[in-house]
Symmetry: C2
Subunit: 382 residues, 2 copies
């Protein structure tokens, strides 16, 4: 596939330092960047109707090929028109290859040069995820963007182990590129290399030589801490082509996103808004709210005064009651709020890039949330 | 309180045989009857946002004083502006007194003439539900309609036991009437008497003498079967004043509602649509759907072709996937669909009364659902 024929392309709108604002063009519509993708692991954002997902401001959604392969199977998803149609999402979608889930969920995992062999965590069935198989699975699932299969390893790890996995991921990137043939789906490469700047540079350069319409940075937000994450981004991103989108996988805390956009990242996905929402932890521009705290018991004010989401038509006391009573609606509303917050966050970051005020807006946002400006906070404290 | 000053009144629009169509007028708005109240036990319809509840066509919602008393407590609910405001419901509400929950949920229950004494199923706390306490609790919760505290017993029971409980409920009705003083809240009486026509008649007549702005029929849909239920209604309803609303508590299957409207009932509540929804059982005018059945695996058609609910923008195969994958969104969407079905059902019944075609429409509806016409089906079979 010649690059300028890629079905997924990115064009810049503005830059401010290393930060960019742009537009991702896909067969299922355009999305402004920086963008945040809610995670619809098994073709659903947990507990959230697809129209509510759109209502949060999301323009693109992520689904996971590992989960969909195991259940209901990519054949059924393909038969139902592909993952977007399957879940009723009218815009663009992206699938993760499952490399991380093999690493984190599967049983009896054995990784060889051929691929990753494991047993399903659902029913123990034997599964083979080779680069070629991953491409077939993702083509059948039919998202607009597919991700290469990469070799994910546990961190911390010795440099030699990190290097070996990075180079295997490069060989798998080549195999994915060769096997991938669906012309209306883009395949992104994933930069690996741990926290080693030279390994990251090697990975990025080799991926560029292979040539992808977009590049992800993988293997971060695995416990390295925000300072190390940002440092690694600064060592990696300059080696990626400016005219292609950059996707930081699995990130992150709001402060991580602020820092990463500042380092030149365009795309994000993370389970944090929904997972934290289900656990009664609320993100706001004034900092996090631990909703089960007794101080919120009779508070009639919303989570955030100017938030347009369905949770914010209620008082905090009501939402707290839902959580204490074990009611499903608590996690549902909290997830919708947090997803709305994440969309409002990236919208503010985008506006700041366009206005040429990224540093200033970063400080405002981080200061408002009570996070430290240097590298982003390490997590909610309130 | 003089009856014609009641804050809740009912006026007839049309009759067809014993069936009625009318309007319930309340301090929080009007609702057409026959009406079906979704059950918001703990101030939430399980998993369903309050705006979605309104979207189903519901005009009035039921909450439960037993649950709200235990958690979060009527004081907090009152402090937050009453149950409707607490849950963001803009229309009228009704609270059940908790008599049934004391019977079905509480531990170490002891019922005396004074009241029902028990231990909370949540934390074992000792609780006293006397008629007077129930009135205080429900006044603080602040629904538009409160229900008397009645003495609920297990069925089947010997006639003597049924009669004793019925007469105690009458004495408690008098005490509730005397204790209830909130002028913007109506108190309804509850007819008891098991399946004994003479006991039912006695209960109804005595409640009329005490005088309530509305009358409920309690103690049915407890396993007696649809034929016995309908027969008891026919023995009871004629003893109730025509100009007051009649509320059949805890009913029921769609066919039960069809039969009960035909016997002169105006108001219903039931957990069936939401409980069955959470268990993947779907109600439609073409009969029930057991969504986990493999025949639906790759079905792209909606649950019901002309249903406007959010679930029906998806195919059955997707909804089935959600249930098989244990995803929260399955129960949420199925509940919304079933609630929408129940509202569409009562709307059709109302239209049939107004058009003078109740018998015919009953047969159409029951025939379409595959239920028997005589007394309504006994449950889903498909």
């Amino acid at each position: 596939m010649i690059h300028d024929e890629s079905p997924v392309r990115w064009s810049a709108t503005a830059t401010c330092g290393a930060a960019r604002a742009g537009t991702l063009l896909t067969p299922h519509g355009q999305v402004s960047t920086p963008l945040f993708m809610p995670v619809a692991t098994a073709a659903t954002v947990k507990g959230v109707e697809i129209d509510r997902v759109a209502g949060t401001g999301a323009g693109m959604v992520l689904a996971n090929a590992y989960h969909l392969h195991l259940r209901p199977g990519e054949e059924l998803v393909g038969e139902m028109g592909g993952v977007a149609r399957f879940m009723g999402w009218r815009g663009p979608t992206l699938t993760d290859s499952g490399g991380f889930q093999v690493f984190s969920l599967a049983k009896q995992v054995k990784v060889t040069e051929e691929g990753a062999f494991f047993r399903s965590h659902l029913d123990g069935r034997a599964v083979a995820f080779t680069p070629e198989a991953s491409m077939r699975i993702q083509e059948r699932i039919g998202a607009d963007v597919a991700m290469q299969l990469d070799h994910v390893i546990a961190l911390p790890a010795e440099r030699g182990v990190v290097a070996d996995a990075m180079r295997r991921s490069l060989r798998w990137a080549e195999r994915c590129r060769a096997a991938h043939s669906r012309s209306d789906q883009a395949l992104f490469g994933i930069v690996q290399g741990g926290l080693e700047p030279d390994l990251r540079a090697e990975s990025a350069a080799r991926l560029r030589e292979i040539g992808f319409p977009g590049y992800a940075v993988g293997g971060l937000s695995v416990g390295e801490g925000p300072e190390a994450m940002v440092a690694t981004l600064h060592a990696t991103v300059p080696h990626l082509p400016a005219e292609k989108p950059r996707y930081l996988m699995g990130v992150g805390q709001p402060s991580d996103i602020v820092a990463a956009v500042g380092a030149g990242i365009d795309m994000f996905d993370c389970v944090l808004p929904t997972r934290c929402g289900r656990n009664s932890l609320i993100y706001t521009f004034a900092g996090p709210i631990r909703l089960r705290n007794a101080r919120h018991a009779s508070d009639e004010t919303p989570l955030e005064t100017d938030c347009p989401c369905p949770a914010c038509r209620h008082g905090r006391g009501y939402l707290r009651h839902l959580f204490l009573a074990g009611e499903m609606l608590g996690p549902v509303l909290a997830s919708i709020h947090n997803l709305t917050f994440y969309q409002r966050l990236v919208a503010r970051l985008r506006a700041a890039v366009i206005a040429g005020r990224y540093e200033e807006e970063s400080r405002n946002i981080l200061g408002g949330m009570g996070a430290t400006a240097a590298a982003g906070g390490s997590g909610p404290s309130g």
